[in-house]
Every structure is written in structure tokens, then in C-alpha cells.
């Protein structure tokens, strides 16, 4: 495992930017009598380059938290810091990817990918050059002149990821990005994302309600519960990188999956994970050693 990770092209110097400090954040949504607390007193600290999944049922405030990190929502209380700076307006340094239908249908695939560069005033030739590089990276060479509607759902998400990563964000925020894809396409996209992340090491905050997906992708899973939205448990995933099919079918995986399922279904009475699976703590320590801060 360590031999693979030490290959320089796979793991360049550990990320130095992209630290997120979410400190006692509450977010109220709606107006007047409909006002409700979507997120209550959430504190999370995310290391630079860490891959964190927010896992929870719908209505648990995971998308709300993501929206606040992106700058589309302002916390009612608490503070959000990126590398020590308060998070303000939406900014390309915090790239945002939704589930689907957020490519610009009137722009070609290449112009969609180059959009962020255009907003920054980068010249046309340079825009196109970089867009082509990114299209190659996500495996869409030859599709640059297509309109998004001519692409399959999986291909559209590839464009989406390239469009965000071309801006070299410090943080990648993803809101159930593969939720609308079929199982096989989803697996391919998960592998693609992990490969891109391994290479670039930006911080990823990934919202999902799919337990398998969270366990496959994340360093750390924050399990959330609804009404009001809050973090009820933090799980360090005891698996090395790169993750393989072995991990996906092993006994530890099944233990963790069962635990997550119980948490999502019945958060109040679920037994803590340590007692459920005493072996796991040793593996967590091992994983931490492989990923020094």
C-alpha cells in the first residue's frame, strides 16, 4: 500500500491549502412562520486534502452545509473559515458540483469547461488549450464540440468535474454528484474522482445518502441526522488507498455498513462502532499513519 502511495505522480506533496474550519454553525432557513433550523451547532475541522463525506437522510441539512461552504447561504450563527479566512461570496476556489443539469446547455462541452477561465479573462487560445487538457483528463477527448444534451449522464458529470477543477479550487464541494447515475457508471465516476483527487489532493466535501459510496470514497464520514440537522457521529474509514474491490467486499466494510445503516435508520439507539467492531481502532491508527496532515 505504502509503495503505491509513495509514487510521486500519484501523491505529490501533501496539500497545504484547503483547511476548513466549521465552528458552531447553525443555519435557519425560510421566512416568518415557516422559519426552521436546517443545521444546528455543527463543528467540523477538515484537514487540507482530506476527503470527507457528509452522510445522512434527506432533510438532515447536508446540502445546506455544502451551500454555506460554497457561499450561497450565510450561517445564522457560528463561523466558516477556509485556510483561516472567513468564507464570503461564491468563489471558484470553492468548486461546486451538483447532481445533474447544471451544465450550460447553450455552450459546447469545451466552452462549458473553459467557462471559469473566461470569467477570469483568460484569452481564447489558452482557454481552449486548458479545456482540452482537462477533457482528456476526464476521458472526453473528441466530445469538445458536442452540446451537453448530446452526452449521457455520466459524461455530463465528467464535464461538470472538469469545469470545476480547471479553476484549481482549494476545496471541491459535491452535492450527490453521482446520485442520478446507474450503478456501473457511478462506480466508474467514483474511481475517476478518486484518481483525480489522488493526483491533485484538494479538499473534498462530498454529500451523499449512499453508504457504500461514502465508505468507498471517504477518509472520514460525518453521519448527520434530521430535525434539526446535526452531526451525530464521526467515522474514520479504516481502509488504505487506493481502495480496491477487496475493501468493498471485506468483513470490516460490512460491519461499517451495518453500523451506518443502523445510524441512519435509528440514530438514538445505535451502539457505538468501537464496541461493535473492536478490531477497527487498530486499523484507523494505521490509516492515519499513511496520511500525515
Amino acid at each position: 500500500m505504502n509503495a503505491i502511495l509513495s509514487l510521486s505522480e500519484l501523491a505529490p506533496a501533501a496539500a497545504s491549502t484547503g483547511r476548513l474550519d466549521i465552528d458552531r454553525v447553525s443555519i435557519d432557513l425560510g421566512a416568518g412562520a415557516d422559519r426552521f433550523t436546517a443545521l444546528q451547532d455543527v463543528s467540523v475541522h477538515i484537514r487540507p486534502g482530506e476527503f470527507v463525506c457528509l452522510l445522512g437522510p434527506s432533510g438532515c441539512g447536508k446540502s445546506t452545509l455544502l451551500g454555506a461552504l460554497a457561499g450561497h447561504l450565510t450561517p445564522s450563527r457560528g463561523s466558516l473559515l477556509l485556510d483561516g479566512q472567513p468564507i464570503g461570496c461564491p468563489d471558484p476556489e470553492r468548486g461546486l458540483v451538483f447532481q445533474h443539469h447544471t451544465l450550460f446547455p447553450w455552450l459546447s462541452v469545451r466552452d462549458n469547461v473553459a467557462y471559469g477561465l473566461r470569467m477570469r479573462g483568460v484569452g481564447r487560445a489558452e482557454r481552449h488549450r486548458q479545456a482540452m487538457t482537462w477533457l482528456k483528463e476526464v476521458g472526453l477527448e473528441g466530445f469538445e464540440h458536442h452540446y451537453p444534451s448530446a452526452l449521457s449522464g455520466g459524461m455530463q458529470q465528467r464535464v461538470e468535474i472538469a469545469r470545476v477543477l480547471i479553476n484549481q479550487p482549494r476545496v471541491l464541494l459535491m452535492d450527490e454528484p453521482f446520485g442520478a447515475l446507474d450503478a456501473l457508471t457511478r462506480l466508474k465516476m467514483q474511481e475517476l474522482l478518486l484518481a483525480l483527487w489522488t493526483k491533485r489532493r484538494m479538499t473534498v466535501v462530498f454529500v451523499t445518502h449512499d453508504i457504500d459510496e461514502a465508505l468507498f470514497m471517504a477518509d472520514r464520514i460525518l453521519v448527520m441526522s434530521a430535525r434539526p440537522g446535526r452531526v451525530i457521529e464521526e467515522i474514520r474509514v479504516p481502509a488504505g488507498r487506493p481502495r480496491t474491490a477487496e475493501w468493498l467486499t471485506g468483513a470490516t466494510f460490512v460491519d461499517y455498513k451495518r453500523h451506518c445503516l443502523a445510524l441512519l435508520r435509528d440514530p438514538e439507539v445505535t451502539v457505538p462502532l468501537a464496541r461493535l467492531s473492536p478490531l477497527s481502532s487498530a486499523r484507523v491508527a494505521d490509516t492515519d499513519a499513511a496520511y500525515p496532515d
Binding site: 451551500g67 450561497h72 447553450w106 471559469g116 477570469r120 444534451s149
Partner: protein, 264 residues
């Protein structure tokens, strides 16, 4: 011949055939001066007379005046309506306070048919040209405005959020995202507006015009030149059809990604 070939021939022949049948029925009814009780063809000119009248008009220098007047009135009224309707629609659709300020008067004005504006517009505009352009403007304004608002409301908020996160400034969102996303709906408004534009123009010309196809049609009635009435009617139909087709072409050229009724 293959089944496919037969199909395409049928597709080309059928519209022609249907037009021919209409003309034949018209010829039959008018040449026999049919009287069906409720409706009578006694004073309806025959197709051949109409063709002669059309030929005469084609030779006449007046045709250019009539066509020019009507076309320029429609062009002015429509362009102003498009400009006002689309820009108003964009801000009304996007900002709640603009909507709450502007919608009440617009909602009162909307059900008033453009034709009902004719007397007032004659009083308000010193030139009859101005009043006729105003009528076509009123006719086209509301379909364009309402469809633009509808289009803006239909823009996915996540599309705007994505654009903002990619570095689009607050005001650039209008040009970069909202206008193109609402464009198909705007085009629908423009097509409907073009239709009502012609409808209103012809009515306005019948009442206060000098020159113009509507004026020509009504004048033909007053001087009892019945064949010319039908020439005028057909001209109006063809001009309306032509301008709609032109609009469709322009829309298609500007929105190559968009195919109505489904994914491209």
C-alpha cells in the same frame, strides 16, 4: 418505389392537394352563387377574379406603398415590444420587489384587447402613424413579457448557483445565464407576439390608416371592389406566415442547441 419513398412523396403532395381542394370548394361555391341560408356566397368573388385583381395590384405602384407601410409599422411596433417586453420580463422574473411594483398595473392593462386601445391612442398620438405603431406594440408586448417572465422563473436555481461558483459576477448572471436559459420561452413569446402584431396592425389600419394592407382591404370593401378584399386577406396571411418563418429561422440560428419538443 420503396415504402419510404412513397411516404415522402405523399408528404409533399398532401399539403398541395389540401390547398387545391380549398380553392376548388371556393370556386364551386362562388361560381354557383350558393345560398346556404345562414351564409351566402352570392357576393363572394371567384378565384379567377381574385387572381386578376392580384395581378393588377402587382403591376400597380401602390403595392410598394401598402407593403412598405404595413411592414415598417409591424417592424417598429414589434421591435419596441420585444425590447421592452424582454428587458421588463427579465427584471420582473428575477426580482420580487420589481414584480410587486410593476405587476398590478400590468395585470390591469393585460386583459384590455389592443383594439380597445385604438380610440385612446388616436387621441394620444398626434400622428396616425404613431398611434398605429402603438397599437401593434401593445398587441405584441404582453405575450412577449409574460413568456419572458415564465422563462426566467423556469431557470434552475442550481444553474445560477453553479455559474456564481464558477466566478460569474452578480450582474453578469443576466447575460451569461438567465437570458440564454430563458431564450426558448422568449422565442415562444416572440412568435405569439408576431401573430398578434399583424392582427392588431390590420385592425388599426382599417380605422386610421392611409396605405397599408389593412387599409387596402377595408378600402376595397367601401368602394365595392370585392375581389381586392380577398387579395388583401391573402397578403396579410402570407406576410404573417413569412414573418413567423423568419423569426423561427433567426431563433434556430441563435439557439443551435435547442430543439423544440425534446432533446437535440
Amino acid at each position: 418505389m420503396t415504402a419510404h419513398g412513397q411516404q415522402s412523396v405523399a408528404r409533399r403532395v398532401l399539403p398541395l392537394l389540401s390547398l387545391l381542394v380549398c380553392v376548388a370548394l371556393w370556386h364551386f361555391a362562388s361560381s354557383r352563387h350558393m345560398n346556404l341560408g345562414l351564409v351566402t356566397f352570392q357576393n363572394v368573388p371567384q378565384p379567377l377574379e381574385v387572381v386578376h385583381a392580384a395581378w393588377d395590384l402587382l403591376q400597380s405602384p401602390k403595392l410598394q406603398n401598402h407593403l412598405g407601410s404595413s411592414l415598417s409599422r409591424v417592424a417598429f411596433g414589434f421591435l419596441i415590444a420585444a425590447l421592452v417586453g424582454v428587458s421588463l420580463g427579465l427584471v420582473i422574473g428575477r426580482f420580487r420587489w420589481v414584480r410587486e411594483t410593476l405587476m398590478p398595473p400590468l395585470e390591469v392593462a393585460r386583459p384590455i384587447p389592443a383594439v380597445a386601445w385604438i380610440p385612446l391612442s388616436i387621441l394620444m398620438f398626434p400622428s396616425s402613424e404613431g398611434s398605429m405603431i402603438f397599437i401593434t406594440f401593445i398587441g405584441a408586448l404582453f405575450p412577449i413579457l409574460l413568456n419572458t417572465i415564465h422563462g426566467v422563473h423556469g431557470v434552475d436555481p442550481r444553474l445560477i448557483a453553479s455559474a456564481r461558483s464558477l466566478g460569474t459576477r452578480r450582474w453578469a448572471v443576466f447575460a451569461r445565464v438567465i437570458l440564454p436559459a430563458a431564450a426558448p420561452s422568449v422565442l415562444t413569446g416572440l412568435s405569439i407576439g408576431m401573430g398578434t402584431c399583424w392582427f392588431c396592425l390590420v385592425t388599426a389600419e382599417m380605422i386610421s390608416g392611409q396605405y397599408g394592407i389593412g387599409y387596402y382591404t377595408w378600402e376595397s370593401y367601401t368602394v365595392q371592389n370585392y375581389a381586392n378584399i380577398i387579395v388583401g386577406m391573402l397578403l396579410i396571411g402570407m406576410l404573417g406566415m413569412g414573418s413567423s418563418a423568419l423569426l423561427h429561422r433567426i431563433g434556430h440560428a441563435l439557439m443551435p442547441w435547442y430543439s423544440p419538443g425534446g432533446r437535440s
